[in-house]
């Protein structure tokens, strides 16, 4: 995954040059409509170059389009501003809404467009690849904090150490097994070490399934006597952030059969999408959490259910 950070200078240069195109195309008599927070920032910076006659704001909430002061739309030419065009689907909703309100003409400026977008803005300044994460000065930066112990990958030296979580099945899996999986099976193995002891360990895999990229959480456990210290939470934070910042669509794993426990997983947003019966271990339930900021949950689950 690539990351691009825009600074104020590159945005200002881009908008200054874009303004010349706005004038050339005759869009400078239009009313500006700022889409969401990103659009507000673009409109504010455009003002330095363009003394536009009026501005309307548009708020997006849970997919709904709310145009504040929509009395300014009817019979007017509207110039939409946003920072990013990812799929362009949002703009379709806005175009529809503006047409219903009687807009005379609609044009769109986006600072950048993601390649393969359904909508091509009338003016855009940069084009980015699909797997690129973009940060503007007004974006939430991807700051991650892991405050418990030291989070690190398993190392060869760890093979001499002992890790017991109290579950007889998991405890048959030695730290050497974890290390071998990391070195030879593409497993991602991370642990939390605190005061020289291994307090929690996680093993997961990247798993593409039918067009979606997922993470398969194979094992997570906390060392005996270390419960109540958020060591497992630290590693679950790591895999959750891994899903978001590497653009994975879901995490799935298995939970032991326990009615109360499965109910608690559901309460926390997990879907139970199947069960496996085993004569030795009883029932294991397949649980999935979907990255809802990237994909529609129902679509992901319908696609992956037959495969996992």
């Amino acid at each position: 995954m690539r990351e691009i950070f825009f600074d104020e200078n590159s945005i200002d240069n881009g908008l200054r040059q874009a303004y010349k195109k706005i004038v050339k195309e005759g869009f400078d008599s239009y009313i500006v409509l700022a889409i969401g927070n990103g659009g507000e920032h673009i409109a504010k910076r455009l003002e330095k170059h363009w003394n536009y006659k009026d501005k309307v704001s548009c708020v997006l909430k849970n997919g709904d389009v709310q145009i504040l002061d929509d009395s300014k739309i009817k019979g007017n030419k509207i110039f939409l501003c946003d920072d990013t065009t990812i799929t362009g689907k949002t703009f379709l909703n806005i175009f529809k809404k503006l047409s219903e309100l009687g807009a005379d003409d609609i044009k769109l400026l986006s600072l950048l467009m993601r390649r393969n977008s359904f909508i091509v803005p009338n003016i855009f300044i940069f084009e980015i690849e699909a797997d690129t994460k973009v940060y503007f000065p007004w974006s939430d930066y991807p700051i991650r904090t892991y405050s418990k112990g030291i989070v690190r990958k398993i190392s060869c030296e760890d093979c001499k150490k002992d890790f017991k979580c109290g579950d007889s099945n998991i405890d048959k899996n030695s730290l050497s097994d974890f290390f071998k999986n990391q070195e030879h099976s593409l497993a991602k193995v991370y642990l939390v070490e605190d005061k020289g002891e291994i307090c929690s360990i996680v093993q997961f895999y990247e798993k593409p399934l039918d067009g979606y990229k997922g993470l398969f959480l194979d094992i997570i456990a906390t060392a005996e006597g270390k419960n109540g210290n958020n060591y497992a939470s630290t590693l679950l934070k790591l895999i959750s952030y891994y899903m978001f910042y590497h653009e994975f669509s879901f995490i799935y794993g298995y939970a032991f059969d326990n009615e109360g426990l499965i109910g608690m997983y559901k309460k926390r947003g997990f879907e139970v999408i199947g069960s496996i019966q085993d004569p030795h271990y009883g029932t294991l339930h397949k649980i999935v959490i979907v990255n809802g900021t990237k994909d529609i949950k129902e679509n992901v689950i319908a696609t992956i259910r037959p495969h996992i």
């Binding site: 939470s233 934070k237 298995y254 426990l261 926390r268």
Partner: protein, 41 residues
């Protein structure tokens, strides 16, 4: 956050709530259980 986002929570809170369940019962896949069983060769 009702307490990136999951289940209407920031990742910090989501991971904490998931971690509570892992402390009740760790997670392991059947594939790995079978591998362990076969090793126990």
């Amino acid at each position: 956050c009702k307490s990136p986002q999951l289940n209407d929570m920031c990742i910090e809170c989501f991971a904490d709530s998931w971690g509570e369940l892992v402390e009740i019962s760790p997670m392991i896949s059947p594939q790995t259980l079978y591998k362990i069983e076969n090793k126990k060769a």
